[in-house]
Subunit: 321 residues, 2 copies
């Protein structure tokens, strides 16, 4: 019988039951590895794998036709070297992370605009100080680079918080996605950076996105600009950003992704001024809604796969998303 | 000529011009005290005062008919003792603070749900730790006590972030205000507290709101509940809340208002577990939108006053709001 390996630690009994029933309907048997470990010697049994899988295991999966990774950033799975043969289909779970990462962006943006790290330090020192200037999402000018699931979820929330204008930036010119006021292509970025108060990067790591926020582009941002990155650390010229923050050239930044990860203890990012650093937690898997969506999206594509329809979340391994 | 004293430090040149023109149209001369100090010996000249004024000055204002305070919580101005005669009208600037305080509530709610104080401590120790459970506004059950400007502004934003249900609680049964799913009166609070994950208090300090979140009511909250207070510290049984937080009986709290203010350095609140304490900054005046609204609301009521219409933001000094 055709077989699926499900390899991850986050599943509830309901999730397992949903996957089992969908697989049955599609003519597959399922083995669950809910400790997150698939023994290498069993890798050859599976036509489909869903979850987290080291490359060493994937390479041994001689019968593999489709790998669905249970997270959004599939950059570790783009190379042909990862697979037993080049024809393996790769899908990701982009679509499951929009709500949680959008909430992270709203939170850190407000923390920067409202000087929360300063006021937290005041309280740590048991001082009752109240003065300090604040700004607002209300009335602000926002640019979101990356108009996928995460960018769109954030734009919807920022609009409801009365942002003045939300510009989306993406690779190709297509109709304006919902919740954005205007849409631009990447080569127009230099025009809109000087008008941007809140710059959000929500991009996969691809040949085109590496270094997209270059030293030259950081120099185009106004003094009151803040930068939020939730995609991949490679999108930013990190040295140039640290200089801009330490010198006060821009107002602040929130980085949830950096280079390298994990960040070594001696790295200067830890001590950079006006930087709200987090440890790649914005897509935290503990949100029920994220886990539920992840399972739902896999099951949808399993039905597509069985029916011979195109997979919804297929990653173009050359483009990188 | 009839005269107005404008006494506060936040006005821009445009604000002063707007007030001057409105006053002229209404037949008033205006004196501006933009250092925030009105000399007591001049207090007797004014029929109207707008801004911040100590009671000592107000009491000397023998000709005063209307005092418009430039903030929302007018609890220091309720007593007859504050005024030269009991007939002085009091208005507040509720309506100017909704956007900024709603952003504060969204921020601290997300910080508590997403364990941000823990993750900030991780980064302070230069550790790259990623695990920790998180929750979301998306799908949550919210109760907002106080459905005025602040509560309504928050409810609108929380709804856009996909809260599952937002209940409003207020003094009297009236039609459901916008952005709330259901509305209850205060005496129904005990029924809905056990179903509340996020409890927001946005109340003025009045006889009816003092102690509204009593020890008994805190005991009705579920273990995963968080409490956010942005109104007045008097609304909460602070000792009972500290006990509930220190023992882990509820998940967390964010207090922007406490008793007493300023909080003395030896007070146990500073060291309470799972408490995100801020120093009464949620209504921070530095937001342009707050200042603009404040001036606009005063000018509207100045037109009302001159035309003999009721004042829009009149405070019932017995009720307290």
């Amino acid at each position: 019988m055709r077989k699926i390996a499900v390899v991850d630690v986050f599943f509830s009994p309901e999730h397992l039951e949903t996957i089992r029933q969908t697989a049955q309907r599609c003519g597959f048997a399922v083995d669950f590895y809910t400790d997150g470990v698939l023994p290498v010697q069993r890798a050859g049994e599976y036509e489909i794998m869903y979850g987290r899988c080291p490359a060493d295991t994937l390479r041994q999966a001689a019968a593999l036709k489709w790998f669905c990774c249970s997270f959004a950033g599939a950059d570790d799975y783009l190379s042909d070297d990862v697979y037993p043969h080049p024809g393996v289909l790769l899908t990701n779970s982009s679509g499951a992370y929009g709500p949680t990462i959008a909430e992270h962006i709203i939170m850190v943006t407000l923390m920067l605009l409202r000087q929360m790290p300063y006021f937290q330090e005041v309280v740590r020192q048991k001082k009752w100080l109240r003065s300090g200037s604040m700004r607002s999402i209300s009335g602000s000018s926002i640019t979101v680079v990356g108009t996928g699931d995460i960018g769109t979820n954030f734009a919807r929330r920022a609009k409801a918080m009365d942002a003045r204008i939300i510009r989306g930036v993406r690779r190709s010119q297509k109709p304006c996605p919902p919740h954005f006021d205007e849409v631009y292509t990447t080569d127009q970025l230099d025009e809109i950076l000087p008008k941007t108060e809140i710059l959000v990067l929500a991009l996969p790591s691809t040949r085109e996105t590496v270094g997209i926020l270059s030293r030259e582009r950081i120099a185009l941002l106004p003094e009151d600009a803040i930068v939020v990155n939730v995609g991949r650390g490679t999108a930013v010229d990190q040295d140039a950003l640290m200089e801009a923050l330490n010198s006060g050239r821009i107002a602040g930044a929130a980085l949830d992704v950096v280079v390298p990860e994990p960040l070594p203890p001696e790295h200067p990012l830890w001590d950079t001024k006006n930087l709200l650093l987090t440890t790649h937690i914005s897509g935290n898997f503990s949100l029920g809604i994220t886990r539920d969506l992840d399972v739902k999206l896999f099951c949808e594509d399993l039905e597509n796969y069985t029916a011979g329809r195109p997979l919804e979340r297929l990653v173009d391994r050359k483009l990188g998303y």
